[in-house]
């Protein structure tokens, strides 16, 4: 009896709550209409990077320009590097209303499949004609999920090429011949010399032993297509001889003390400007050595570790997607088109205000002023088209041409454009992810003996259903392949 009465109260309070929510959603409805009629629409844009002090100042300028050009203003919010994954995940899942969001890699694919992003093929056709012409077609093709495009990739290098980068001072000192370096194994004599003679230097600035395959997810997960031979058949790369060989070499290096002891788990990021390393590994681009030497304040020199290749990962490194919750996707697309084609806007968003954050020289090159480092230090790679960015005074004049050449020189990976839908095997994938997280870092940094641990790893993978996943990948891949023709 008593309970019943309380039920009534509770119900009425809940009803009040719903009413409240209804009111608030009505509010957003009105703002939508004002956006379409005359008044400038405010585009909400979330992107990655440490929030900057002068963002507001710069965007006052941006808004003056966009208001005139496309009758819209932009509210850009940066989310710090380390918070990005978690925060964007919650924002997207909660269906928060915003227009544009930075995304990349697997999270782009997952969220596109989940319906978080808008299909933009039509929009691009309508509002972004000129944009479509500018962007490298490999980027647009490579980022299609189930045949549809869900975001605008940043037009830059589309190629992945890992290089070994050396500390040039040490290379010169011991007169190493870098032209002989082709493989991980070739490093051995140099590492030995360094270890014996340079006490303050760690020979290897921790990197993972390269096992060259075309990975479906990332190089931690045991699903990949070979670059040579049967390129249409997905396999577990950790069962290959290459993996064993590379991990073994790495383990020898580890035992010889060429790597730090905690290589597998250390959070050490090996900043360039600390000269305590001899060789490192990383993705390259034209004139990367110049860039690195500049930030390191001493010279570095690189040698390719592989051929330049276009893989799924390298085309999806930086994408701006339009949210499915956008109130005005046309405006969002207009803005993205403008940002990627208009040099003034692109440079303004990237470098800040001329005269405040940077100065322009007579020959058209630019130089950062202290205010840029201090108040508007933006990550270029995440923001958009690189080829319309002003060059720095120190940049080679043909930098962007070299980028284009670099892009043209690459080979395409077998699975470029194939996006796996993991729903049918998600329980297997969940446990495989955990197993890989457990074994891969230790193996790839040589921290454990592959003779013992690699078979263990593979056995665990088998128990977790790696074969079932491989089968599913193969099935979807074959379907995709036949639809391509």
């Amino acid at each position: 009896m008593k309970k019943k009465k309380l039920g009534v109260i509770l119900a009425s309070v809940l009803a009040a709550g719903t009413l409240l929510s209804a009111c608030s959603s009505k509010d957003s409805g009105t703002s939508e209409q004002s956006g379409k009629s005359g008044e400038a629409y405010e585009i909400k844009w979330y992107t990655i990077g440490t929030p900057q002090k002068d963002t507001e100042k710069v965007f006052t300028e941006v808004n003056k320009y966009t208001k005139e050009k496309i009758n819209a203003t932009v509210k850009m919010t940066q989310i710090d590097w380390g918070d990005w994954v978690q925060k964007s995940q919650v924002m997207i899942n909660s269906g928060e209303s915003f227009d544009i969001i930075f995304t990349n890699g697997t999270s782009y694919v997952q969220n596109a499949q989940k319906g978080a992003f808008m299909e933009i093929d039509d929009l691009l056709e309508k509002e972004g004609k000129e944009l479509k012409e500018v962007i490298n077609p490999d980027l647009l093709e490579g980022n299609k999920v189930d045949g549809k495009l869900y975001g605008i990739p940043a037009n830059k290098e589309v190629v992945r090429q890992d290089v070994y980068t050396f500390n040039k001072r040490l290379v010169d000192k011991y007169k190493f011949d870098l032209t002989k370096v082709k493989t991980l194994q070739d490093l051995e004599p140099m590492l030995k010399t360094i270890k014996e003679n340079e006490s303050g230097v760690t020979p290897i600035a921790t990197f993972k032993a390269p096992v060259r395959f075309d990975y479906v997810f990332n190089n931690e997960m045991p699903f990949a297509f070979p670059f040579e031979g049967e390129t249409d058949k997905v396999i577990n790369p950790f069962e290959s001889d290459t993996a064993m060989e590379q991990f073994k070499t790495m383990h020898e290096y580890y035992k010889a003390g060429y790597l730090k002891e905690d290589a597998a788990t250390s959070k050490d990021s090996w900043p360039m400007d600390v000269e305590n390393w001899f060789v490192r590994m990383g993705g390259s681009q034209p004139y990367a050595d110049l860039l690195w030497s500049r930030s390191a304040k001493y010279e570095v020199v690189s040698v390719p570790a592989e051929e330049p290749t276009i893989i799924n990962d390298s085309v999806s490194g930086s994408i701006q997607a339009i949210s499915a919750t956008s109130k005005n996707p046309e405006k969002a697309m207009e803005f993205l088109a403008l940002l990627n084609t208009d040099p003034y806007l692109r440079n303004l968003v990237d470098k800040g205000i001329e005269g405040t954050h940077y100065k322009k020289n007579d020959d058209g090159t630019i130089e950062d002023l202290p205010a840029r480092i201090d108040g508007y230090n933006m990550p270029s790679y995440s923001l958009g088209n690189h080829f319309i960015l002003d060059l720095y005074k120190e940049d080679p004049k043909d930098k962007w041409e070299k980028f284009q050449e670099f892009n043209a020189s690459a080979v395409k990976a077998p699975s470029l454009g194939f996006k796996f839908n993991s729903d049918p095997v998600r329980s297997e994938l969940a446990s495989i992810t955990n197993i890989s997280k457990e074994f891969y870092p230790a193996l790839a940094t040589g921290s454990v003996d592959p003779e013992e641990y690699l078979p263990k790893f593979n056995k665990k993978l088998e128990e977790a259903g790696v074969d079932k996943v491989l089968k599913e990948i193969q099935k979807q891949f074959d379907e995709w392949k036949s639809s391509q023709k």
């Binding site: 969220n111 730090k260 905690d262 788990t265 919750t325 969940a430």
Partner: protein, 309 residues
Amino acid sequence: MKRILNDLNKNRVWLLMVLPGTIWLLLFSYLPMFGQVLAFKKFRIDPDGFFASVINSEWVGLDNFKYLFSTNDAWIITRNTIFYNLIFIVLGLITAVATAVLLSELINKRLSKIYQTSILFPHFISWVIGSYFVFTFLSTEHGLLNLILGWFHVDPISWYNESKYWPFILVFMSIWKGVGYGSIVYLASIVGIDRTYYEAAMIDGASKWKQIKHVTLPMLKPLMIILTIMNIGRIFNSDFGLFYQVPRDSGSLYGVTNVIDTFVYRGLMNLGDIGMSTAAGLYQSAVGFILVIITNYIVRKVDEDSALF
């Protein structure tokens, strides 16, 4: 109807007092519970916001649960959660009571106070800070433990990589943080014990040890029982910071550090799998709920005043 209004009017004052809290509970606790239905759905984002997404997502029945329990993870996280909590309860009880008894017996009261203040310190820091503390000891490069190992020419250990040490580290840290608080709860109770019991014991010629055994501990028994039972009721919940921040989210330790709470968190944040992580959360709540109902029933038998409802 009139009676209802009359009743409400009579309880006006009390209702006003609970009003702010009730509004809070409805907004922050009950309204979000709506999201639990996601455990039975395949989540797809709808452009009209979250509620539309929840409503329009396809029902998949128990698929998310099937998925959860078909992985090894379900077993591992359940095992870890229960195993650690059991150890925490047992060792926590022993260390807290022992420390409390020792503190109460100390002759120098000034010293006793200094000790109390010191052991209470860890209770006041967050696990964010705590993880830095642990790092100063376990850092492979710079940490104190490896420095000490170095003195004895033992090879450094990669602590954040070796799962075999972590059960001990986690138990140690849990006790480290909890012993101060626990012992002070018991100490407060010891202080409240009527002195005449001790005097009577002394007249019987009981030694100090006998006094502890026959007076102090029996007097603490009800409190020990209540607290322990309540902890058992919460055995399915674990201290998120201890299992997430202290091991620095290190992948190679997941086997021994993954508990239900961290699993739910990672499922949502890293995999974006809202259905499965909701299912795991619901599993935790449901089992926890049953445990608490049982616990409360037992508590009520032991001491009605301490029962929760």
